[in-house]
Symmetry: C2
Subunit: 253 residues, 2 copies
């Protein structure tokens, strides 16, 4: 019935609203939890462990997340994808499954990740975007904010924009894209691409940028934090539900 | 503290997913129920009754629904809107509140209503549209379907496309818009405008149109049902979650 395990890459998306984040936690509904449960059924109810390109926090969504595991099944990739679609709940979708080199590491192998943070700019909130966008009807002074976005580009120590440092080796990251894109009067989004992101980094950055747009924080103050790695200002971390892991890129596509 | 009641019109939108429809039902979460509860608080916890342009079924959404009630409150319209926004849950949004003529009847006064039915045409389903669109990845033969949409225009007895007739005076309606609009390869929608709709009519029509697009029902068969008002074919009513009450129009705007 079974085969020797092979390494499979799983590309998936999820609505994070009803998950306590990606990472497995006993007694909580997590993306990793439901994914491992479905995959273990596919290999005859034998448990397995899934790795991902990174964790997303509770309430954060993913348009593209990449996971990998060793799977022992006679099913080919297409059949595994089909079975996963049948077994997973409606708020997780599998885009594709493919067998990869057994050394494939979805986190270390990622060359670039992109996050987007969505703003709902309607006066009273669009009920159809309530799960996926921060309702932010206030006037925004966009120019100083765009100036700060320009400062973020390149290689910096982002320690001043990280939550609990965790056990990362370095807090230096290279930001390759940092934009604010307005779509008409009713919607806007922040787009960030980097070779990696620190804990809560995007939500902390968005919180700071919104304060810049309100004239509460001056761009020069954020530049100082970016240069020194030391945060001496307090601002509110933007809420999780506006954030979406948009893309993860690997050398081989 | 209180004032003589005035007639107020309330324009609202809702995500129907977690409601057992618009119409009040004891022990169920309904849009009317949460709206009446909030409005009664605004007039000092005295109960009231709300009328609407029409009911929407369980799971059906509204981008624009129009409701009205008699409200006794010192608050002006803007304050009532503000209070409603504070009191209502996140899946109902109030667009505006205004005092209207006391004869305003949101159902009988409606000149035209528009419903849209959304299709998610991605191969494996877009998780961010799962609540608001029917996942329908199948190939569609669009031309015969568009032919049927053309037949629907004008004044017809739609009895053959209605659910339980209810206590309507007539099943004749005038359809002023019946279109299928594709947005790229990944999304499409049906748009219907009429001076009124029968029970389940849009979902029954969409179910029939999808069968036409699959070649299962011939356009001529639907024409016969439209001409005779008698339904002798069975097809599946399209599910509620793809449907949205899009607009309600009145003589005075």
């Amino acid at each position: 019935m079974t085969r020797p395990p092979r390494r499979v890459r799983i590309d998936l998306s999820y609505d994070g609203t009803e998950f306590a984040g990606f990472q497995f936690q006993p007694r909580h509904r997590t993306v990793q939890g439901v994914l491992e449960q479905a995959l273990s059924r596919i290999q005859g109810d034998r448990p397995l462990r899934v790795q991902a390109s990174g964790r997303t926090d509770a309430g954060v969504h993913a348009r593209r997340q990449v996971a990998a595991c060793f799977l022992a099944s006679r099913y080919d990739d297409r059949q595994v994808a089909h079975s996963l679609r049948a077994l997973l709940p409606d708020d997780v979708r599998v885009e594709g499954v493919r067998t990869v080199d057994e050394g494939f590491d979805p986190r270390r192998g990622a060359r670039s990740k992109t996050y987007r943070y969505m703003l709902d700019r309607t006066p009273h909130g669009d009920v159809f975007r309530a799960r996926f966008a921060l309702h932010y009807p206030r006037e925004m002074d966009v120019e100083p904010m765009k100036h700060v976005l320009g400062l973020l580009l390149g290689r910096h120590d982002f320690a001043g924009f990280a939550g609990s440092a965790g056990n990362v080796e370095t807090t230096v990251r290279t930001m390759t894209e940092a934009r604010f894109v307005e779509s008409g009067r009713d919607a806007a989004q922040f787009v960030f691409s980097a070779n990696g992101f620190l804990n809560h980094m995007v939500r902390i950055l968005v919180g700071a940028l919104l304060e810049v747009a309100q004239g509460v924080i001056a761009p020069a103050e954020l530049k100082r934090i970016l240069d020194s790695g030391e945060r001496d200002l307090k601002w509110t971390t933007a809420p999780a539900h506006g954030l979406c892991l948009w893309e993860v890129e690997y050398e081989d596509g």
